[in-house]
Symmetry: C4
Subunit: 206 residues, 4 copies
């Protein structure tokens, strides 16, 4: 809680608390989008039929989970915050907290929609994923230009700097696949992305 820089800088702990709040709420709100069976006599059937919703739920949960892991890593290097960092962080949190929306759209599209509806739904998810990559790029570029806000970058951080670009490209390709090839394939890719991220982080650690 001691002042560690010029007046306009303040320590990052409350930003982390606020961000943790947004991450944990967004990840928990996802459950509200799962449809509760309500037709007498067909609960088991309806629960089983909803498996695409469960896949979309898992993909979005894992996505927010790894976004939080990246935020946790990035902010463990940040020593001070200013207004420019705060609003870029807000843009990032926007892409996190909006994610329950395309997730619910996917669940609805696979429940009642046509293949074209499903394509529109996975594209909306991909757009949010790409927006998240852009938000990370904005944040990292700002940190690179304001070296006083964070610890010097380590080898590990350089690794992570490539992540937002991969996120942007990856979700762009997944969206194209969803639109032109198969919405179901795009959904599978959404689920695989966070797993790939964890595997890559783990191998970078060793």
């Amino acid at each position: 809680m001691t002042d560690s820089g010029p007046r306009r800088l303040s320590e990052s702990s409350r930003v982390e608390a606020f961000s943790d709040g947004v991450f944990s709420i967004a990840i928990t709100l996802l459950v509200l989008e799962l449809a509760i069976p309500a037709t007498r006599g067909s609960f088991a059937h309806e629960l089983a039929d909803e498996w695409v919703s469960y896949v979309a739920y898992l993909a979005a949960f894992a996505n927010i989970g790894v976004l939080w892991m990246g935020h946790h890593t990035a902010f463990s290097r940040i020593r001070a915050v200013d207004a420019g960092l705060l609003w870029r962080n807000l843009v990032l949190l926007l892409t996190v907290s909006v994610l329950p929306f395309p997730t619910a759209v996917i669940a609805s599209a696979f429940r009642v929609g046509t293949p074209a509806d499903q394509a529109a739904a996975v594209v909306s998810y991909a757009v949010v994923g790409m927006a998240s990559g852009v938000a990370w790029l904005l944040l990292f570029r700002y940190l690179a230009r304001h070296p006083g806000l964070s610890d010097p970058l380590s080898h590990e951080e350089f690794f992570r700097l490539r992540e937002p670009l991969l996120t942007l490209i990856g979700y762009g390709i997944a969206g194209l696949i969803g639109w032109f090839v198969s919405p179901g394939l795009a959904l599978a890719i959404f689920l695989v992305f966070p797993i790939v991220y964890v595997v890559r982080v783990r191998s970078a650690e060793h």
Copy 2:
């Protein structure tokens, strides 16, 4: 965690944690008000048609975001809290946590309502924005009268003291514009206000 004043004063960290919770939940709950398409065959159409909802979502998200930034700045100066500060903070949090309501009213009005409905909706949003300005005024006046609760005001803080009054007047004018001129114009103003705030804070920092 050490006592830093008379008995009735306690440190502000738990107030910040509680407030951060309310801010982060309110900002994340906004997403629940976006309507999920459910008409077979028209998902892309419905997603595109909902653009006014997205604008209202962005305006409310940015509004809560800058309210949090202001709270963050104000409480970085606060060293102790008493019951009088706590309930004024609660009034401020009330104006934050109610914001998803007028945001949803705007989305509904632009989806199914008449121009008069849209006018009523943007006025309800403006009233909450004005209430937020009043809550800040109450809080700042209390801090000014109880100098033991906070650090002495700096030049930067004097700048921010003008903000609540500008908020009150700004949302009042936007509400009048929404009622007498154009609800859509008022909505655009709601989106611009938080951007202006960030720009002004940034220029005050330099």
Copy 3:
């Protein structure tokens, strides 16, 4: 973060964080129970007609707010937690997090119900208020019997020890008034209770 007692005791900071989360979420979820107008052409009318919902919202918001203030005060004296304290705290949080339910029941009853429906609704709210008083009594009695968990009680704390009993009796009487006299009067009392609490705490401070 240092150990300050026998093995089974741990410091209270994470309990406060978890409790703050529940308080801040419950207080923010209340807004979801406000009905969004959806009838073309009558938004202004519907918004105005919903004033009883706003009163119920304010009463519940203020109620959770003062419950948090009491929790904040109580835990500022608590130095260690054990399982017995944790589950009593959970019972208290139960009475907090269930509050959006009777609040929504009141809003629904005054929107579509008969006077008998309204009476049932305010009684359900009063029952939750009484349960909250019982939870506080359990918590305070446990602290009194385990003096190692908290700082010695001061004059101010003795004052607060009377609060849970007043809460229990107050909501009991309000429920009876709601059932036998007037649901609207009971609702007004629900709104007045938190205000009385703040006034009494403030006068105890001076």
Copy 4:
């Protein structure tokens, strides 16, 4: 906030904050699944008829409550986190945050469903309970294989290591009872499990 190990390790406080957020939100979201009466003239009747929903609510609330208590205990021993621990913690949080779904399914099944629907509903709850046991096993096994992440295990911790296995077996048996014997009996068992847990922890403390 000091570095206490090799580069890839970071202290656990933000993981706890994020986890506390998920626990507190999941436990508070449960209330949204309680059905609000809306039939003019029968509010008291509907409120009383919903008692199975209240039991399911209490069971899920107590379940998340004791899961948090276990998390609190486990993480009080954890001194550092790495990516492997983070994603196992995420899996655990997944089983916590999905719990409002089977709880709502139970409430719906006992409101409108057949005995077969109720059986499917309690089985879905039991499956989530079992998944929670598996997640704990994964987490504890990882901690056992990476002794640098946590304090040496005490007698009390060994006690808790048996808990996940008991959870897994217990919810498996309860699910079988719900499917083959009686859904209502399974629901009663769900409510008893958390109580048994608290009693066992308390006796282990003494």
